[in-house]
Assembly symmetry: D2
Homo-oligomer: 444 residues x 4
């Protein structure tokens, strides 16, 4: 049996290709839209991709399950569990809807469907047994957003991103039961999760690519909170606000969107779109175009820009062409295809800044752009609080010419805020470089 994990840094997302050497068939678990990486490996290893499956309707990226069906004419397997209103619509003819304990064979490899709700009502996992390799015991579990390394999937997205009232509590209860069930499986089973560290689909995902069930039973909090009520409380407490694009993802993945194709963009010939500068914050602050917003193209790009995307509006990207192309690709992975143009970096303003340690406490007009959670734990007396994700759409209660000090926790989000403030017409902005964490002790 062939096994390979594909990890998409931009999404903190894992998908898998498994193959049966005896029949030359391969299968993708939780594919992203761009199938290139799977095909490259399948071609090299001599496999034909004949099947794909997904664990649930993803909320954080655009699924490629329909692409596999339509482009490769492969059979696809999706959950038939959960309520109909939350389930898959408009599926291609190659679709098989599967239920708890259904069996899928890929050559001599057996996958047993397990209904493991909690993250979402329809969530399933796939328990793999390598019969072709002579085994009669299961080897591992594709656990999707059910079990992660050190954590489990959050149950509140349906409520927070799609407004299904009461679904958080129901999901948390289901998760408790799903975990009790998983605890009955053998220790030696490998856990192949759907996400890693940095994913907003949980609170505290570990950065290891895989784990084992026995190890998680001992180390994962979810296996160690015995009472349902405590479990639910722990699970639902302090889940961060989901980025703005999650509701769009749910819609895309439930109802479908156009098939993925790459596209080229061209230099800007007008100036009307919101422009995002992909460079490092150092480069941005050393010199940028006034009114452009800095979202550095790194691992957190999607989670950051997700807050500011309107799927009905075009945007412009600023950076060298190669970075722009990578950013466009990353955006396509969340189904956003409206990058209208690009622009090479230009400099007409240098950010004014001071380091947090230079703050005196006498500053007026301090804007704190951290999350609610961070704000609650402590903040400057005189600060106004608007979480960075809401800056673009909310009113900012300063005068356009006020001297404004903007800070976050460590300096990343305030960088974004500087551009948004410029974009909205403020003219006298000071970035507090070190963030709240480096403020002098007497101010905290």
């Amino acid at each position: 049996m062939f096994f390979k994990q594909f990890y998409e840094d931009n999404l903190s997302q894992a998908s898998y290709l498994i193959g049966c050497q005896r029949t030359g068939e391969a299968m993708i678990i939780d594919p992203i839209r761009d199938l290139t990486k799977y095909l490259k490996v399948a071609d090299k290893e001599g496999f034909t991709i004949t099947k794909a499956a997904e664990t649930h309707i993803h909320a954080d990226f655009a699924s490629g399950i329909r692409d596999v069906a339509n482009k490769l004419n492969a059979s696809i397997y999706v959950s038939d569990e959960g309520k109909d209103e939350f389930n898959y619509k408009n599926m291609p003819k190659q679709t098989h809807f599967v239920k708890h304990q259904d069996i899928i064979y890929l050559g001599k490899i057996k996958l047993e469907v397990l209904h493991t709700p909690g993250h979402t009502p329809e969530s399933i996992s796939f328990l793999l047994t390598d019969e072709g390799g002579g085994s009669s015991i299961p080897m591992g579990l594709f656990s999707g957003d059910f079990i992660f390394v050190g954590d489990v999937g959050r149950p509140d997205l349906l409520e927070k991103a799609v407004n299904v009232e009461g679904s958080t509590k129901i999901g948390a209860k289901q998760m408790y039961q799903s975990i009790q069930f998983a605890a009955t499986l053998p220790d030696y089973i490998q856990i192949w999760p759907g996400h890693g560290a940095g994913s907003p689909c949980g609170k505290a995902l570990g950065s290891l690519p895989t784990t084992t069930l026995g190890y998680e039973k001992i180390n994962n909090w979810a296996f160690n909170v015995k009472y349902e009520t405590s479990f639910i409380e722990t699970l639902t407490l302090n889940q961060p606000a989901p980025p703005h694009h999650f509701s769009q993802m749910k819609k895309i993945n439930q109802f479908g969107m156009q098939m993925y194709q790459p596209y080229n963009v061209y230099p800007s010939s007008s100036n009307t779109q919101t422009a995002f500068d992909l460079r490092s914050k150092e480069a941005f602050h050393g010199g940028h175009m006034h009114g452009t917003i800095n979202i550095p193209f790194n691992k957190t790009f999607i989670n950051q820009i997700g807050w500011y995307l309107d799927y009905d509006k075009d945007i412009e990207l600023i950076g060298d062409k190669s970075t722009v192309q990578q950013a466009i690709h990353a955006l396509q992975l969340i189904g956003f295809e409206n990058v209208k143009s690009y622009r090479l970096p230009q400099t007409n303003i240098v950010t004014s800044s001071i380091h947090s340690s230079e703050m005196t406490g006498e500053e007026h007009n301090v804007l704190d752009v951290r999350n609610d959670d961070e704000w609650r734990k402590g903040h400057l007396k005189q600060a106004i609080h608007i979480p960075h994700g809401k800056l673009l759409n909310e009113d900012i209660p300063f005068d356009k010419n006020d001297l404004i000090y903007v800070h976050c926790q460590s300096g990343v989000r305030s960088s974004i805020a500087v551009g948004i403030l410029e974009y909205k017409g403020f003219t006298n902005i000071v970035n507090v470089r070190g963030g709240y964490q480096h403020l002098p002790a007497f101010l905290k």
Copy 2:
């Protein structure tokens, strides 16, 4: 002034980017559809592409002039000379139609339009003077398919590819006059032609990238045939048959087609398309899939495959993914976007072959796939003649089980023929490796 020639090996085609450093503007002459290469240089050099021009309605590749207008919102300049029925239709709003002696300025660079018909009725050239560099004399001529290195453009394409009766003779006469006019320009002028060696837009193009007018006056035959009648005879004699796709190109370039975007293809999931194997002829003959046609992906790829493309039908390509992607891109440059799928090389048949020198003359069923011209100069007594370009559509007068010997001049085209014969159901084919040129002397 900035100047760069871009040479597209797959098309034997030259295009140009010029730029005025004083204003930061750049202009493309005779762009192809994929603008990537121009933008890469423009970005690097700090230019904005604000203009493009083309010398004539190309017959051998899909023009990118409309792409420049639509994607970059740049002004484009095309010929307003020649008869209306042969001229540009459906042009974008950014189009300027220019006539003999019109002037175009790119910053401080002056381009004078010269009407230089012959290759086609509307053909124009652009005479460049670098006023920004302090010059009042012209530096060079973008000559399109008027003057090449060592040759001039063929006048017969309109007649042969688009059936405009009598146009060859008219074009040849115009070419004579255009050359007489060019002869009056100064020797020091550089000639920047539209094609190089291997292009089917002329008979005998040199492989140098550029030349000078003074050098051509002495070395190019066209400046040295004094009488119009001899000139016309020399120009029109022995022009090879244009590849099949030329008529499609004229249509595309006169009336427009969709804007260029890259596209991905996926592994074959059915078997119904004509399949072209992109590997070397050695690899193909050492083992290939029965019934697939070998067009190696090298410089002559487009000229070879052009004979076999039907723009209304899908095809499949065989090769590793990277070569397939390059071939798809090359095909897009002639406006063909119907590659349906790809397939990795597979082997179920090894070509039978003998070397020409082993031929005895006693062979029955010899198929000669050379051009008419080559056939006329000498052929095997018992041979049947069908030029390779017609094999796919014409009847082949052998029985499916006959032992057939197939040869061309040097062994390249017979390689293609082997696959076509297999595709048509012949089962007993021998490739004559060395071609006609290596037959024993007593057989010729």
Copy 3:
């Protein structure tokens, strides 16, 4: 904790980078000589590589452990177990020699050294506990060539490659004891092995990247043969002959060699080296240069070419420049740096061949180039047997002009043999394409 497996297809070899996010330190387990791939990930993830360890003195590839010490000034950890005469010499000053139950810390990650002899006397494994992640139980075992997926390391290399008499039996006994010890560890432990499918360091390695101890206890033969004598017999029976380069590897890895640097090669200007053609066997047989040897550059390249390398002699490679550079790099991974020049493919001979199914049994001069093992299980009556690995150096008992039929099991090794025979002056060679496995039944 950060964890990443690096799999080197050319060596079927796995190495690992682990990192402690709390201190920013990273460590390589079983590094190859070229550190590029580790540094790329370390740079991206923000780690500094401060340590490396290796499990044993490798016999199949050139270790990079000294490179890590010398180039990165990192601490390195190697085994101090086993007899001194077989142990590490000439180690750099950054070396720590470790024994059973020694502890190495990388930040908050604990590695416990376990002496697990069998494959070699000094072999150690590293048992990892992620204390930084809050765990007090071990997570996984870097098992080197001790436990593989579905197999264990072969104990006979010291005897077969370096002529240490009696060491096979001793190793097999030690392996039995090491396995009994491993069986006492918990099921949930991940096994991170040193090799995967195709490696000649065992007989039957699985193609999965990792496994768990519990899964192996049930599915790996080594945990299921209870008696020492049966274990030893099973382990030592039918181990294939190690490729020729293994003895050189042992020497390099015990005593050291120069640090890795890339190098360029240039087109051939003479003709004196043995030349290896890197193309597919189809391309080679469709046309090659007489007397050159075909070792296709694919996953088995190193295992094949290893038989024919003399570390004191230069060789030449045939192929396009990019493939040549990859092959040079692969050869550097086994410490071979004598590629003198390259040559683009040229054709002056086409291989004669018949398919196995066309064999009649009447052929004289049949050369069987399979392994001893395959030969013993059955062969053609009239065949002469010389294993392919010995063809270059042994006398071949045919006349130079004899019509020779050469076959192997499936057609790959006979392809190599064709070139060697040509190289040695034979002129009339027929490759039996399908190999022994496709001979007509009545001949077997």
Copy 4:
């Protein structure tokens, strides 16, 4: 005949590959050390490089002429003109020393050697006639550093870089005579120069890749100053100071150095080398490591860093690995191979800056780092003048804690100066962003 210009942006340097299709031979004119780019084209076009020639002993980059001889076993042709003490030493056995009017044949292509001193005493040019193409007249001139587009080679490098007293004047006289000779050649001849815009081998090179003799006769100043004395004055006036590395180049190219091979570098494990930060000046000023020097990796990189290199000392580069590898390669082209290590960008200081327009004239401690020439044309009253190229080695007459304002003409060189000042221990530096050119009018 095949012809291709290779332009090395980092050196503003042109070299050439010409090939004769009739014999398959190719030749390089003025090769750089890394032959990769020539071989790539030769391989693709089917040529074997059998010859190379160079026009003179270069002062601005490390010649690859000896590499061609040693690696490709090709014949090389160098000047035997000029005084022996300034001429080639230690040449490989494949060397041919050529004199005025010697003839070199590459297949059917004729190169006539012309002695054209002025830039250096031994300078030669090669006049090409394409006899294989049927021409009996010359096509073009490889003019080296004799004739450029719009300029001629400077005659003062021998004096300024190698201290040969009086050689400037002699060179200028010779250049006058060489130009008079060139003026007698026909207008239609193409000029293929050794450098383009940005090269310090002349004052005002044009950015066009090639030109014609006729065009230069009219537009190039050197053909239009009739009297020798005026010519000498114009030629020698205001030639900028040659970068520091030029003297090293002369030595390398006269006496030879080791053959080029690529090399890898590794992350820094100590802190003792001078470190150059390759990022944009915006990124550097937005945040950098204190005491590192910013030389952005762009077209002027070599000309800037050349001032600060000591060929006996190691340096460190700061940037992402891919940029570092490119910078290492560029440095190898000037024979510098002492990059010891690299470091990813880190931030512990943000540059203080003001825009020139904010300067009041009241600032104390102003440091002007422009060239002598710029200083002479005007400067701030209170400014101290030290050209940027001397900052590293000269005493800077301020106290370490003084508030220092540093400016250049446009802001590029002051960026470099900031890092040097930090490196030397100054703690209170303000970068004047817009440079002298944007100072308020009342201050100039």
